[in-house]
């Protein structure tokens, strides 16, 4: 039964994709009337002007361009033009650094706050205010104070991905079932041992959920941050191609950003499954 469900779902997915590509293809066909212009003038103009080509590329254009990128993902034509593989590697490295720093700060801190009801109440308003701030709002402040654009980008990832982890850790630690803690107390388990053997495993699923939300946010932030600081990364690639008004390349970048984001999310999802326990 489940296998046939999976099969049917897969079929529906493929049909949806085909329908989407078909509509896309039809919608971006040249429709505008071809205006007559002197050949000398036409030579100086782009295809959108001369052949009434849609400003939006069709799926075939995107596919051809994507193949071109996939054939040589690691070329390096100087500081402003590198292959997509290199750009993605830069972005993932930045996200990884900022995210790991956030993990190192958020989980211990969240643990401490979560164990003290007083602190968790007192700090809550600050966290709530800082949480919804957009990465682009942090950027000028970071650039101005840190005075280094690559560190600024990492800082912005750090500051944006820390909140969901912190909140989830606090919540997870604070809501460990009282019975379990009481049992541990009765057995005269020490505070440190109690934290690691009782609270941590009990709160782990919630913490991992926080980490999963955070990695998604970090990946969202990197594109915006790199568009601003430039130089390297997939965000810079989007900006550079936008500069050239090359929508084809922008679409390819969007696709890749989506795929990498999904992979990161899946990795964290697997970790979450590993620590989940039946109650």
């Amino acid at each position: 039964m489940t296998s046939s469900l999976r099969l049917r779902a897969g079929l529906v997915s493929i049909v949806l994709l085909a329908a989407f590509l078909g509509i896309w293809h039809l919608a971006t066909r040249s429709t505008a009337p071809v205006t007559t212009m002197s050949p000398e003038y036409a030579k100086l103009m782009g295809l959108t002007a001369t052949q009434g080509k849609s400003a939006m590329p069709g799926p075939l254009d995107v596919g051809a361009k994507l193949w071109e990128h996939l054939k040589r993902p690691f070329y390096d034509n100087g500081p402003n033009d590198k292959g997509l593989g290199i750009q993605l590697a830069y972005s993932i490295a930045r996200v990884g650094t900022g995210y790991l720093l956030a993990v190192l700060v958020a989980i211990p801190l969240g643990f401490l706050i979560g164990m003290s009801p007083l602190l968790s109440k007192a700090l809550d308003p600050f966290i709530q205010v800082l949480k919804p701030i957009s990465p682009l709002a942090w950027m000028p402040l970071a650039l101005y104070t840190i005075k280094d654009s690559s560190v600024s980008a990492i800082f912005v990832i750090f500051i944006c991905s820390i909140w969901p982890m912190l909140l989830n850790t606090v919540f997870g630690v604070a809501t460990v079932r009282k019975e379990w803690i009481n049992v541990a107390r009765t057995l005269e388990v020490g505070t440190v041992r109690r934290a690691f053997t009782v609270i941590l495993p009990a709160a782990a699923p919630t913490i991992l959920t926080g980490m999963r939300i955070s990695i998604g946010i970090a990946w969202l932030v990197i594109v915006a941050a790199e568009m601003l600081v430039g130089g390297t990364g997939i965000g810079y690639f989007v900006w550079n191609e936008w500069n050239n008004l090359s929508i084809t390349n922008v679409i390819i970048a969007i696709l890749l950003i989506g795929i990498v984001g999904m992979l990161l999310d899946q990795i964290l999802a697997r970790f979450t499954r590993m620590v989940t326990f039946p109650e």
Binding site: M37, S38, E40, Y41, K43, L44, M45, G46, T48, A49, A55, N77, G78, P79, N80, D81, P140, L143, Y144, K147, D148, S149, M227, L228, V229, G230, G231, W239, N240, E241, W242, N243, N244, L245
Partner: protein
């Protein structure tokens, strides 16, 4: 005059502006006298020309006197006489070679527009390498970012809009940090582009309520557009909407109908035409022929801490600018700077901008070889004019010491220093008067100039 013209031509006007009085504007005078510089054979010859030009300017501040001198003795005698007083050969040699750079690996930021042509082309065409430098040219997302990265010393020097170093030095929109401009990048090369639907609205008087984009508040684009609108009786602060929009977004916004037009740097103007969304209403050249646009800027700190690197960098830029100023090289340059590593634009678009044979967006092909031109000399009167406009539109309040600021930011360090190194007395004045839309600007009387405008922000 261009720094690369022949200084021994008696008819040559070393200061721009028509001095003979027979023509209404400097441009007309230039056309009438039909002067041009011969393409100089070798680099040494060109340096000789630059140095000789400076010497002539220093010796004869009055064009009339110099002309009389040249006419009475002839150019070759003049050169001989001059060489007696001043060893031109030695000076040329000193100019061409100097101390080893303190720092060889430099980073220079640029914005991907054709204004940055000399800065960009100097990398693929080897001008930096020729002057002993290993320069990485880094594409940057916007003017505010290039400002911050240069202030943060991530870049040693950068491509900036001509008014930006002045604004940074004055602390407008940033902390006050002394910056200097050793060379102007390009002159002319901008344009007013309107959306195709406005093709019958060519009279600016009908533009009330339109929305225009400019690249940055502290830009020649802002000042020129405001000037142009005000001359046609529109108050740019109340009658139209001006928005600061990064250049690549301009074409997208024009297509989406969010703006009605823009005064933008090229290749953006030509790109809008290429994509069929707008037409060229006016080249910025028709507002002020020979106006500066972008500059090559560095912080005073870099200049003092690495003077030789800075001098070598300036030399490379001046060298590249000279190469770019020749029409026959423009096609080759367009191909060199078009790849994704540099400007990242179709070659056709860049070629149209640089060669001046372009589609106007209305079905016609126009030719104007001076659509964009390159001349590095940082006239201080340019800076004074920009300051008058900053004051006119309320960006600066209170009194301004025009001369002091202009001298501090423009030419103050490099050009003077290079000349002193060569045993030269720098020109007593780096001021020239010029006309913007037919109205003369006298750099000696900036306050009167501001007062002469009816439309300006009340201060």
């Amino acid at each position: 005059m261009s720094t690369f013209d022949n200084p021994f031509d008696p008819d040559r006007n070393l200061r721009a502006g028509c001095v003979c009085g027979q023509h209404r504007s400097a441009a007309e005078h230039e056309q009438a006298t039909a002067l041009h510089c011969e393409p100089v054979a070798s680099e040494e010859k060109r340096y000789e020309g630059v140095v000789a030009s400076a010497v002539m300017r220093a010796m004869f501040p009055q064009d009339v006197a110099r002309r009389a001198f040249l006419k009475s003795v002839g150019a070759s005698t003049a050169l001989a006489v001059l060489s007696q007083f001043f060893p031109l050969k030695t000076a040329t040699e000193v100019f061409a070679q100097a101390g080893a750079p303190e720092k060889k690996d430099l980073k220079v930021g640029f914005i991907p527009i054709t204004c940055a042509t000399p800065i960009i082309m100097a990398a693929p065409m080897g001008f930096y390498a020729k002057h002993g430098l290993n320069v990485e040219v880094v594409k940057t997302a916007g003017w505010a970012v290039i400002r911050d990265k240069t202030i943060n010393k991530e870049y040693d020097a950068a491509h900036m809009l001509a008014p930006m170093p002045i604004a940074i030095s004055l602390g407008l929109g940033a902390n006050a940090i002394p910056f200097a401009v050793p060379a102007i990048e390009n002159i002319n090369g901008q344009g007013i582009v309107l959306a195709t639907k406005h093709k019958d609205k060519r009279d600016p008087k009908d533009w009330k309520g339109l929305k225009f984009a400019i690249p940055f508040d502290y830009s020649m684009h802002n000042y020129l557009l405001r000037y142009y609108l005000a001359e046609h009786g529109l108050d740019p602060d109340t009658d139209v909407q001006l928005r600061s929009v990064p250049p690549p977004e301009m074409v997208a916004n024009l297509r989406a109908d969010n703006i009605d037009g823009f005064l933008a740097p090229d290749n953006i103007c030509q790109r809008a035409i290429y994509d069929g969304v707008g037409f060229m209403h006016l080249l910025s050249k028709e507002i002020w022929d020979g106006h500066p646009c972008c500059s090559f800027a560095a912080s005073k700190e870099f200049i003092t801490s690495a003077p030789n690197s800075f001098a070598a960098l300036t030399r490379a830029i001046v060298d590249a600018t000279a190469y770019a100023s020749k029409a026959e090289n423009r096609k080759q340059i367009a191909e060199a700077i078009a790849p994704a590593n540099y400007i990242n634009a179709p070659v056709t678009v860049l070629e149209q901008v640089l060669t001046g044979t372009y589609a106007d967006g209305l079905g016609g092909v126009k030719t104007d070889p001076k659509r964009v031109d390159f001349d590095p000399f940082p006239w201080q009167s340019f800076a004074v004019w920009m300051l008058t406009q900053m004051k006119r539109w309320g960006q600066i309040k209170g009194d301004v010491d025009y001369k002091a600021v202009a001298e501090q930011v423009y030419l103050a360090t490099d050009t003077k220093k290079l000349m002193t190194e060569m045993g030269l007395t720098p020109p007593a004045s780096a001021y020239k008067s010029f006309a913007v839309m037919g109205k003369n600007f006298d750099p000696a009387k900036p306050e009167d100039y501001i007062a002469s405008f009816k439309i300006r922000k009340a201060s």
